[in-house]
């Protein structure tokens, strides 16, 4: 199911926003989407995510979720663990990798 990112590039494979990945799963980041939730700050949030290593090709693993509705989400990327809110996690598009 090829689909497009914000800048119109075709993505190589099926991708899921981070918050929909199952716990324990491994995935490869395919891109960062824009989100209306952060308003003017969206570019800053995108940049910060990239700076922390959420870049296309990076492997991540979902470690766990908070109590209600997958919020916040803990992931490991490049060996570092981060806690993200759902709003941030929604921006990270990833392709699920077979276990």
């Amino acid at each position: 199911m090829p689909s497009k990112t914000i800048d119109g590039a075709v993505l190589p494979s099926a991708h899921t926003p981070l918050h929909r990945l199952p716990k324990g799963s491994r995935a490869r980041v395919v891109g960062i989407a824009s989100s209306a939730l952060f308003g003017d700050m969206d570019d800053q949030v995108t940049l910060r995510l990239k700076e922390l290593g959420f870049l296309p090709g990076a492997m991540l693993q979902v470690i766990g979720f908070g109590l209600f509705g997958a919020d916040p989400i803990a992931v490991r990327i490049n060996g570092t663990k981060f806690g993200l809110r759902r709003a941030e996690a929604e921006k990270v598009l990833a392709a699920l990798q077979p276990a």
């Binding site: 939730l37 952060f38 308003g39 700050m41 800053q44 949030v45 940049l47 910060r48 995510l49 990239k50 700076e51 922390l52 290593g53 870049l55 296309p56 470690i63 766990g64 979720f65 908070g66 109590l67 209600f68 919020d71 916040p72 803990a74 490991r76 490049n78 060996g79 570092t80 663990k81 981060f82 806690g83 993200l84 809110r85 709003a87 941030e88």
Partner: protein, 615 residues
Amino acid sequence: MSQSVLHFALVGNPNCGKTALFNCLTGAKAKVANYAGVTVEKRSGPLAGLSRPAELIDLPGTYSLYVASPDEQVARRVILGEMDGEAQPDVLVAVVDATNIKLGLRLVLELKALGRPMILVLNLADEARRRGIRIHAELLAERLGMPVVETVAVRRQGVTGLLAALDTLAANVQVRSGRLGLPARGEAVESLYARIDTVLAECVEAPEFTPRWQDKLDALAMHPVLGLVILAAILLLMFQAVFAWAAPLMDGIEALVSWLGEWAGALLPPGILHDFVVDGLIAGMGSVLVFLPQIIILFAFILALEDSGYLPRAAFLLDRMMRGVGLSGRSFIPLLSSFACAVPGIMSTRSIPNPHERLITIMTAPLMTCSARLPVYALVIGAFVPQRPVWGLFNLQGLTLFCLYVAGIASAALVAWTARRQRGKSESFPLLLELPNYRWPNLYHFLLGLKERAWIFLRRVGTIILALSIVLWFLATFPGAPEDATLPAIEYSFAGMLGKFMQPLFEPLGFSWQMCIALIPAMAAREVAVSTLATVYAIGGGDAALGVSLAHSWSLPVALAYLAWFVYAPQCLSTIAVVRRETNSVRATLVFTAYLFALAYVAALLVRHLAALWT
């Protein structure tokens, strides 16, 4: 060569050990813990051991020069020389966590683009080796074009090598002044990371590895349900320990104090000096000193938790709930430090980007029970709550203490929620909370921290509490009783008059005039409530053990009301002063003081009447 002072700045990601290095290099004792954002202000100290005079600046951690939350801006402004009245650093000492080198190098390359003299410190080198990470330092130095030194700051390893490298740099650096503009972002994050990958492939052998026990621990500690159970259990254990483990030591100190009282009493001839030493000095200070073991146990737990890496997990678990009341995981650490003392807690709110959230955090910080309230709680609980086991595991005293802490937290949530309802929702800066590796608390730092806390407590006993005890003894002794006195002499003293003057206001709460007097010196330091009660009851001819005197003269509902008062009352002038300074608003300070007093009064009133119905 110029001999002006050279400025070195420690720069790096949050929680990579900058402050631990700072302590090693300057002999300072700044607070170190295992979570991001311990350092919110820059601090500096003389850097000894170089051949020219130098100063070392410790900066708050930052991930980037370009995207900055407000606490990271401090670092950026100092690095770029934008801070007024602040010398621009001549040498950047970039610190990287060797177990997390990729993330760290990103900032290093950003810094390198500034073209300043630089050195790279790979900290936590021992932990990296343990994980099988091999870093070829010489090759890395060549590729990056800067010296590279490995250290283990918490164990003071590699510090000599670092000093030698700094000295070599110092010999060649010219002091410069003026601002450094932030260059436009020359390179996209993607290509920067691609460069890092190339360098890492050459210089670092790192097996894909995180210790299994860390992951297993996280599966438990961050489990949505079990994690909260564990958090509650840790806190319960902490309050249990405060009572259960401290008891034998407290008995020891109590025995020592009463022995000292008797010894001094026998030595001095009966008269005014005898009364001053026995009832004023020894009863006053001794009654507070008794709580030293409890303070030490409380801080032992707090320090161990801070160093373990558990706290960011707790912030993760609580983030959703805190967001429900308009706060966020970012308020967690300021609120948590308020359990030690609200003053540093309120100061650390500077790391909260949203001004409204910051104000709410300041307003609610004193509802976190600070350690100065512990003696008051412990005294009243010890006197009125029986030491009865509950469900086999806990005892009723520890459980009561736990409830008092919970009452403070729940009230803070309620206050924050009410304030949010008035303001409406506002957008939030992303959480993006780094969850550091767990590690065993470092014994040296742990003991150093404990010693520091014990000293702070003893210094308070020796200064402010001593002074207030003396003043109070005078107020409670003079003027003496008239010849035909029918009541105990203290009822005729200034303290007695003052207490009786205040008492009508507190009549609805059931407070006696003795209890009212204790509220006044408690404004300077809450512990003094205990020494005041001790002095007042000692002069009034009460039992030697203060707890016994209280149990005889207060009813249970009133005792509980007194506890409720202390949960809320803004009884500490330094807290009010720091609120004034941090909010820079008289109005906010007045609102802060008034709402807490009102809350204290209402809560005490409710508790008294509800408890009276129930008992």
